[in-house]
Structure formats: C-alpha cells, structure tokens
C-alpha cells in the first residue's frame, strides 16, 4: 500500500490507531455518567495549554496535558462542592480556556499563530516521532488505568450516590476519570482536533451501546468501532485529501445512523412477531392456573404453562390478560431471555 511509503503517514496511522482505541475506552464512562461534553470542555482548556507551549517554546503537547489535567481536577472539585453553581463554573472554565488560548496564541511571534487551525481541527500529518512516543506513553497509562480501575469507575459513573454511601472514594475516582479524559484529549488533539475530540469519545460508545448487552461488551465494542473509524478515516482522508478529524467523525456518525436504523428495523420486526404470536392466543379459552391441566413451569419470578410444547406466560395489561410465548422449545429447555 503506497500510503505506508510515507513516514508521516505511518506516524499518522499509528497515532490514529492509538486514539481510536483509547478515546472510546474513556468515553463510555462519560456517557454512563451523562457527562458527554466533559471532553469537549477539556479540549477548550487544553487550547490555553497549547498557547502557553507555543509562547514559551516548549512542546505544546506537554503544556496542553498539564492545562487539561489541571482543568479536569478543578472541574471535579467544583462539581463536588455543589451542583447549582457548578454548571456556570464549568462554562466559565471552558470558555475561559478557549478565549485564553486564542488571545495567547495571537501574542505568539508571527507565523506561529496561524497554527490555531491545526490544533482546533487536527493536523495528523504533522505528528512527529516524539509525538508518537508521547502518545504511546499516554495510551499505555490510560488503558492501564481503565483496566485496573474500570470496575470502580463504572460503579461511580453508574450511581455516584450509592458509591458514596457504601464508602467508595468517589471524589478520587472522579478526579482519576477526569484526568484520563484530559490525557485522551491531548492524545487526540493532533488526530481529530480539540473541537472534535468529544465525538471520538462519545460516538463509538453510542454505537456500541445500541448493540451490547453488558457494560464490558460496550467498552470492548466501542474500542473496536473507534479503532476502525479512526484508521479508516485517516486512510480515507489521505486519498480524498480531506482533513483527518472531520473525515473520522463523519464516518463514525454515518456508522451510528446505519446501526441505529438497523436496530430500529430489528426491534420493529420483533414487535410484529410478538404481536402475531399474541394474536393467536388472544382468544385462549381459559386462564392458566393450577387446575387447567397444562403443566406449570416455574420461570424466574413467575410461572409459565406448557401448552402443546410451548410456554405461556400470563401478561396482564390494562386491556386484560394475554399470553406471551416464553421459549417455544420443549419444556425443560433453557428459559428464553425475552421478557414478556
């Protein structure tokens, strides 16, 4: 493949691979916490860090990392103190971050300030070998933290109040998560840009949660989706001559719409099939009970009745009782996963 003939594209693909894997692994927790836009906000804050790096001629990646982590810790402390003012405080921090970045960058020596676009929208082809090394370090740290603390982070993201009641270190875990988000923001900066970072954290998770049954599955699937759209988006952008960040995000959104439509069709067919089955038995001559002659089959919290080899579960609704099919197999087969 001629795309790999170029050193800069090799680095770009490596960077997109890491971003695609890491961003969704962190993003799933944000979605669960209903804090999807935290990545967006920290992206704003990171811009001030970038500007400081440009002005002081240090590597913008490091200064952005410091700024984003400081911002993340600050946000969690504000959130922990009270909810009402927290919202406004976050807004102030976010807009302060982007405004500070823009103003500081404008003070930079001429020629530098024009780089603003590359930070806002990504400039994957400018990834240097040093950047790749830093990104690899960040990726390892973030993935290790998720692997190590994932269950606790899930606990806190799922039900913060319960976690606090039973004595989990809620504030500490929230700060860890925010710091992971901050690190991911900096990692993604070159690939998708600070304005589009959130998309790569959130959209793969949104796709995965349409298909997965468990949290663990969601994380795994989101990472796979992220990896695929990130690498294929970068490749596409190379051949089409489009910006990598926008291409990746558009691909992810297209996939999201496709999967949403597929799931909607699947659900509608399932509902229609359910209705058809229900219709057949709507006029069931008697209500199943102890004396009806149909053998009772305990099924979780209720009793099904064996009716010519399939199971009837009484389903009482406002309009009366109908029978749902709970597993059409012979009696004794594992109960169906469907609920009535």
């Amino acid at each position: 493949m001629d795309i790999l003939d170029y050193d800069f594209m090799q680095r770009a693909l490596l960077a997109s691979l890491m971003v695609g894997l890491v961003a969704p692994a962190v993003g799933v927790f944000l979605v669960q916490r209903r804090l999807s836009l935290l990545g967006d906000g920290l992206g704003h804050v990171a811009l001030t860090g970038v500007a400081v790096g440009v002005l002081t001629a240090t590597s913008p990646v490091w200064t952005a990392l410091v700024a984003a982590i400081l911002g993340a810790v600050l946000i969690e402390l504000v959130r922990a103190r009270g909810r009402t003012s927290g919202d406004v405080a976050l807004a102030v921090l976010f807009y302060g971050g982007i405004a500070g970045g823009v103003v500081l960058l404008s003070l930079a020596p001429r020629g530098q300030a024009t780089n603003l676009d590359s930070y806002l929208f990504g400039a994957i082809t400018t990834t240097s070998p040093q950047d790749v090394a830093v990104f690899a370090g960040i990726s390892v740290v973030v993935l290790a933290a998720v692997a190590l603390l994932g269950q606790r982070l899930y606990a806190v993201s799922d039900d913060e109040e319960y976690a606090r009641a039973v004595g989990l270190p809620v504030l500490g875990l929230n700060i860890v998560l925010a710091a992971l988000v901050a690190s991911t923001v900096v990692l993604s900066m070159r690939v998708v840009g600070l304005l589009l970072i959130s998309a790569l954290m959130i959209v793969p998770s949104a796709i995965a949660q349409l298909l997965a049954r468990s949290f663990k599955q969601t994380v795994g699937l989101a990472c796979v989706v992220g990896l695929v759209v990130s690498v294929s988006g970068t490749t596409t952008s190379f051949y089409a001559g489009t910006p990598s960040g926008g291409t990746i995000v558009l691909l992810a959104i297209a996939l999201f719409l496709l999967v949403s439509a597929g799931v909607a069709v699947r659900d509608r067919t399932a509902r229609r099939r359910h209705r058809r089955r229900v219709d057949v038995h709507d006029a069931h001559p008697h209500e199943h009970g102890e004396e009806c002659g149909h053998p009772p089959v305990p099924h979780g919290d209720h009793v099904d009745y064996d009716h010519d080899g399939h199971r009837h579960a009484p389903h009482r609704t406002g309009e009366g009782t109908h029978y749902d099919e709970h597993g059409a197999g012979p009696v004794g087969a594992p109960p169906s996963r469907r609920t009535g």
Binding site: V31, Y162, R213
Partner: protein, 272 residues
C-alpha cells in the same frame, strides 16, 4: 450520651443530631440508638424527614450538629468500605450504557474490596447468591434494562446484599412493588436479620414487612415522635402523618421553624 453506651454494641448512635442539606436543618436534635442486630422501621409522612435521617446515616446528608455514629465511627469520617449496605428510593436503574444484572450487583461487592482488589471466587459467589436471594438467578446475565420495574428494584436489593453488610439501610423498598415481591423481600430480610444484620427500613407502610421489623421510629417534622414496638406505632403515626395534630397547629409550628425550611425540605426529601 454515647459515652455511657458500651461501644461496639450499638450499630447506630445519634445524640442531639441535626441533619440537613447546605445549612437547612431538616432533622433536628434527634437522639436515637439502634443496637446491632435490631430491625427498625423509620416511619413518617412525606416531608417528615425520615429519608433525610437515613441519608444522614449514610453520609449523603450533612450532620449539622450533634453526633451521628454508625458502626462505631462518626459519619463523614473514614469508614471501612462495604460495611453499610444501601437500597436507594428509586424504582428503576437507568444507566445510559447497558449493564447486566451481574455487573450492577457486583458493584455492591466491590465496595468491600478497597481500591484495587478484583472480585475473587468468593466475591463472585456472593454476587450470585445475592441475585438468587431476590429470585433473579436466571436473569444474571441479562441487561437490567430488560427487567420490569419490580425486578429492577430487586436488583438494587441484591446489590446491597452482595456486600454482606453489617448494617442495611433501605429507603421505601416496598413502594411500587406488588404483593408477591413484597413477600419475597420480607423473606430475604427475615433471613439476613437472623444472621445478625442490623436493618433500618424507611417506609410509609409497615404491613408488608411487619414480620421482620420489630421496632418503629416515627419521624414527624424532623423530630422523633414515637420510638417503640412496631405494633403500637400505628396509633402515633396515622393521624399525625397526613394532618397536623392539635398540638402542632400550623401557627405554633411556624414559630419554631422558619418557612424556608418547610419549603426546602419537601422537594429534597421526595426527590431522593
């Protein structure tokens, strides 16, 4: 007060405790001792402060005055995680991301394990047992979103049971749960009460759990109005619960309680 009591025998000790949110006191000057192994109902009407009292024990509401000790340690300080179980007043589990019954219940066990330890074989067995105890063994790997509301409430009970807590605090566990499930819950609570677990159940209906709970604490206007056997609680509870008793006419009531308190406490008590 707590000096007189031998330490270790009391699961809960409140002395002159004032509990609330921000600087709004909702439960005021309450003294209460619950011995280890007791099964106590906390009764009261909406807005009486019973939920706030329970949340104060959990560190979810602030102790504004006096002392609140749970399992020998002051609330809010460092506490061995996982010794207190909690079933919140919530009818459904509404995480944005799918999770299985096993994953949700495992969180209950996780609290015991400190920051880094993973669930071992014994922990996984405790999770399976807790799910079986609430009658959902065959739904262990199902997404919680596929369960009915009543079943989801049982998942939250299982989550608390999985920790094998010394003290279990439940907020309205029977509200919106049908008779069969209430009975099942009573059976589970009887069993864990027999093993020495202290139970504190915030509720407005005592009938479903009358076989388990022996003592009742009636909270009215942020104070303990009755503390004694459950059977006699009804007399203290019913008339005072929904109307003001004669000695607590609104006029007299307003004198000792700023109106802002009454307004503030209703939503905070009900929404949580």
């Amino acid at each position: 007060m707590s000096d007189i009591l031998p330490t270790g025998s009391a699961a809960i000790e409140l002395s002159h405790a004032t509990i609330g949110y921000g600087d709004v006191a909702i439960v005021r000057d309450v003294g209460l001792t619950v011995a280890a192994g007791e099964a106590v109902a906390v009764l009261g009407s909406n807005g009486s402060g019973k939920t706030t009292l329970a949340r104060g024990l959990l560190g979810l509401a602030a102790v504004l005055g006096g002392e609140v000790r749970v399992l020998g340690a002051p609330v809010g300080g460092l506490r061995d995680p996982g010794r207190v179980g909690y079933v919140p007043q919530r009818h459904t589990i509404s995480g944005a991301v799918p999770a299985t019954v096993r994953e949700v219940v495992s969180v209950g066990r996780l609290a015991r394990l400190g920051l880094l330890r993973r669930l071992g074989r014994a922990d996984r067995a405790a999770v399976t047992d807790a799910v079986a105890a609430v009658g959902l063994a065959d739904r262990l790997e199902d997404p919680v979103a596929s369960l009915s509301g009543g079943q989801q409430r049982r998942v939250l009970v299982a989550r608390a049971l999985a920790a094998e807590p010394e003290l279990l605090i439940m907020d309205e566990p029977t509200a919106g749960v049908d008779a069969a499930n209430q009975e099942a819950l009573a059976t589970v609570l009887t069993r864990i009460s027999a093993t020495g677990t202290t139970l504190v159940v915030v509720t407005h209906e005592t009938a479903p759990l009358a076989g388990v709970l022996h003592r009742a604490v009636v909270v009215d206007h942020g104070r303990v109005a009755y503390d004694g056997p459950l059977e006699q609680a009804a007399a203290h509870e019913e008339p005072g619960m929904h109307h003001h008793p004669p000695d607590r006419e609104p006029s007299g009531y307003r004198q000792d309680q700023p109106t802002v308190t009454t307004r503030a406490r209703r939503p905070s008590d009900e929404e949580r």
